[in-house]
Symmetry: D2
């Protein structure tokens, strides 16, 4: 496996089971089906397909299982899985086929599925953030009044309390939770634009159809036009996640520095073993936080590179997003899990 | 000159005079003086220096002009200009020297000066954004009903109106203006933490002193503790600027594609001349928008790298911010100016 | 699946089966075994373990199959799979256990396995490069004398031949093949340093043992000291790969531009289908080349970030490398495969 | 000033006077003149201009001083300074004007001037590398047999000698010197391609003219075709520089870690002062090495982004290079200077 997140053993270190599940093939297919099914229903309501056809399609799609090998083969040529998926869905819907995907385009399905995934990721990240803020609060309660040496530019400056070091981290995380929550309406928006983002095929019914689908999927309807080529909300989302892992990178680096022999300002249970030096106990999770912060920093930059969609859709820019954004979500989730673990492992801070 | 922004001739292409002025030595010194002067006054009000000393110091600082060569020399050793600056300020204040910089540290001065600079930059960026939104609105009014070929994945798809291509850009820019304005209270915050960020030297008077300085400087007082090591607001700010240049990169790329012979969907006045082909008219500003978007994308990533402040202050992370953030502001300003110029140069769109 | 490379359907687009195989768990385990087995044999030859024990260990390791779930569990704590792997290997070797891993450390095993993987990747990349250079040569032979419009800064300049556009790409690829081949001795170096990179545990026998292992594995022995903390050869390797995908990104972008309606300078078979517009034929592979170039560009930068190993080993920097380098290899391989496909799909160029 | 390198006081910290001089307007103009003058001479030799005209032009150019304000103004429109420069040069050459710039294009002048600048930078970097390797050698001689604690993953592992920590750094720098020197023939290549890179205007005389100019300028003639759109040599060069600053970032980080109170494995003279804590001595130069390494890492990635030149010349990609490459050279030079300074400041290592 190429990615540490998918790797048989590395995956245990870079682990975020909830995030992995959110990006699984099963969930993605489920989101594709949810979109198409909501569209079929909405098309019927708007009178754009024969009465009964929308409901029939939605019913048929409820039991739809794609032929994955065929999907995979088509992907290699089409660059998106949707044309083949729609072919299979239409075949499954028999006479109701006309109510499937009408007026939509591949990007509508893929982007909507994406934000449904991000919705799950956000729930998860916010929950892990809450846990971590609570864990830091407990550490502050237990050890906050202990003393450690305040250090600036890697040099001993003046003694401070443990609370003085941890409170800014906790406050930063609270800010990140607020920011992420505030981005939800921007991120969790239905994509519906049709071939060139103008919903020309749906005509005057487009707003009503969009509202119906969005409501069924728990998403915000698009405001006026599709966001096919305006990826700012996704870049902003990636930025918000990278801020979380960035703050945790600072935290991890501090823990690793405090755990140094000669400094000894933190005692950690559960360090990593060494194959050559059985006496060692490595602050693996603290290092991991640094790694993930630097990884996400680079990927936040790549998300900005992916903003340059040419004209009404850029395959090149879009595919870059596919390569980068899932990794940012998992690195962030993994970072929160590791930070929570560190808090649990801390047996003493300061003195 | 190393930077295109400071370069004798390249600087004319990568130009943003307002931004350059905001980052000038004169303005930065003025901000240093404003901070120290407001601190002196506040110290006196709080009774932490002898009566009259704060006012005397502020009065002396009003006419203060630093010895720049000395500042420069000290910078090479100290890594910050403030210790030498404070030495010079104290010398200029005579008996009121005790009221200068008391309780503060270099980072308080530099970070506060930074956000005063960013305040000016933000005013400027928001004004240029407003102009650009208006210019795009005019283009849409003039040419919006014209037709051009909608293109997806670089291939002709279906005809659309010029408005269909421009409206998403305009909407994205409106979103960027809202985002940037909403970040102001986070960014425009006084820095005041003293040696290790705890304001230990100012004791119980710290909140009052901070409130007084912040009010005088038009900044938000810090909430509870200093943001010495929490750079999220600056990274978020950089992200907001890079989103602007990212959207403009998309716009520039579209203009360059539309200006191709054989496509001919935009007519531009004022293209760039060629030394070998006098017949050519190059869409230099459109290309520039692409360049600046990609530059800022990379630098947004570097801002995230600069979040990993160890302990109470990281020289390494902080200096990285100094290298990156000013460039992002200028690239963004330059991008807005170029985009406004392009709008003015457009003589026709679609057909 | 998080990564496009490991994804059930996206993986068909971002495909490089040889590269995936090279990074598979099976091959990695095989490399671990090869290293340990060669070490056991070398230890016996050098007289550092009892006669027969090295051979016995190597024999036992030949049939070794790890308990993967245990390996995975241990990874989560240790941050490396090797301590648990060695435990399992020693258990499998019975009385010859003393000849397993003696004098080595986790990094020796992991880094050596890495370069054995890169050896396979390099063979593959060089072979694909050769194919592609040949394919470009054929295109030049078939269409080289045809005319197309030379374009600079996206504007028609002067007519050129197809050969004039393709020859610089072909020449760049030849240069990349030479560069990559010349890096092999630097990259394909045994790692052997022991606990802190000094081979203290192997004493004066270290060079002989290293030479023996290196020879058995087809690697270059380390020169003097371990390269535990000197990752330059890997960063240089990543750079060489990203240069390949960079050149192909230029090629892909040119193809996509040439395929525009209105330009019509290339005819491509096998374009991608659209779910909304059956008439379209999208230059998916050409776009993919752009995507992969930009992805690798960002990751080349992250490889440089991973150079900052503190002291004798940095977990943080090392894990960043694990996250980034495999993806660069696959993106490069995928890029070469897509470029070869494009060459096969070209039915006409210029006119 | 926007850039730390050009800044009135920050410039003293981020200082590399030789590098700054190499990029100065004066030197760049001098390179432009050298190119044009060598071209004029070569044109005459090849019989492409009237006898005497080439020599006359070269003579006139010897005293040429550009009108910089005009150059600056034209740059804003043309996106390159050369059309206006050539206008001025031709005016200065009177009847010999026909021998100026004939057959060349802006990119020929700018790229050739660039590699002449890089030639100076390379001389300088190699000299500073030699000095640093010698300084490290001296440190090893003075302190190499002292003991310090070998640390892996930030944890005490086993005692090592100072030499064991410094030798890998020294060896890496030797490797970097070799690599950089070996890139010279690729980098220091004349650019000569004319309007679209094919030298069509010079016809069969192009190779002779190129050889003549290259020889006069101390450059390698291009092999076959221009490298207008093949930027691999420059990206490779940037990579080689970033490897240097990367290794020095590792060195700086080690120094900063060794200088911690409680670790105390290095004694440094000349630390930086603090405005709040006069007792402190900050390892400013060591931190600076970390900063510059991370800066260059990001910029190495951006150089890869700049490879995607579309068609025969991309203004967008080319301008990105202008923004990035000069900064990489200065960050590298500054990094070498700081590292040399640290070596001079070290008063003790290990114990």
């Amino acid at each position: 496996m190429i990615s540490v997140f998918d790797h048989p053993w590395n995956g245990a270190l870079f682990a975020d089971p909830v995030c992995r599940e959110a990006w699984s093939a099963e969930r993605q297919i489920a989101h594709f089906v949810s979109f198409e099914s909501a569209l079929s229903t909405a098309l019927e309501r708007a009178g754009r397909v024969e009465a009964g056809m929308g409901r029939a399609a939605a019913a048929a799609l409820a039991g739809f299982r794609p032929d994955l090998p065929k999907l995979r083969r088509a992907m290699a040529t089409d660059g998106v899985p949707i044309p083949e998926l729609v072919r299979q869905m239409r075949a499954a819907c028999g006479p109701a086929a006309e109510a499937v995907h009408t007026g939509a385009t591949s990007q509508d399905v893929l982007d909507t599925a994406l934000v449904l995934t991000l919705q799950e990721v956000t729930d998860h990240v916010l929950a892990r953030l809450d846990e971590l803020i609570a864990s830091l609060g407990e550490l502050i309660e237990r050890f906050g009044q202990n003393t450690l040496m305040g250090r600036t530019r890697m040099q001993a400056a003046l003694p401070i309390t443990v609370a003085s070091r941890l409170l800014p981290v906790e406050a930063a995380l609270r800010g990140h939770a607020t920011r992420l929550a505030s981005l939800r309406p921007q991120v969790e928006r239905l994509q519906l634009g049709g071939a060139v983002g103008t919903n020309a095929a749906l005509g005057a019914d487009a707003p009503e159809i969009a509202a119906s689908i969005a409501s069924r999927l728990g998403l915000v309807p698009p405001s006026g036009h599709a966001w096919h080529t305006d990826r700012a909300s996704l870049v902003d989302y990636a930025n918000a996640l990278a801020l979380i892992s960035g703050t945790l990178g600072k935290f991890g680096q501090d823990i690793a520095l405090m755990a140094q022999q000669g400094i000894d300002e933190v005692r950690l249970a559960g360090g990593g073993g060494s194959s050559a030096m059985p006496h060692k106990s490595n602050p693996v999770k603290a290092e991991l936080l640094i790694t993930l912060a630097r990884f996400n920093a680079g990927h936040a930059g790549l998300m900005h590179q992916s903003m340059l969609h040419e004209q009404e859709r850029s395959g090149a820019a879009w595919m870059l997003e596919w390569m980068v954004l899932p990794q940012i979500t998992c690195a962030t989730g993994c970072s929160l899990i590791a930070a929570n673990q560190i808090c649990a492992d801390i047996e003493g801070m300061g003195g």
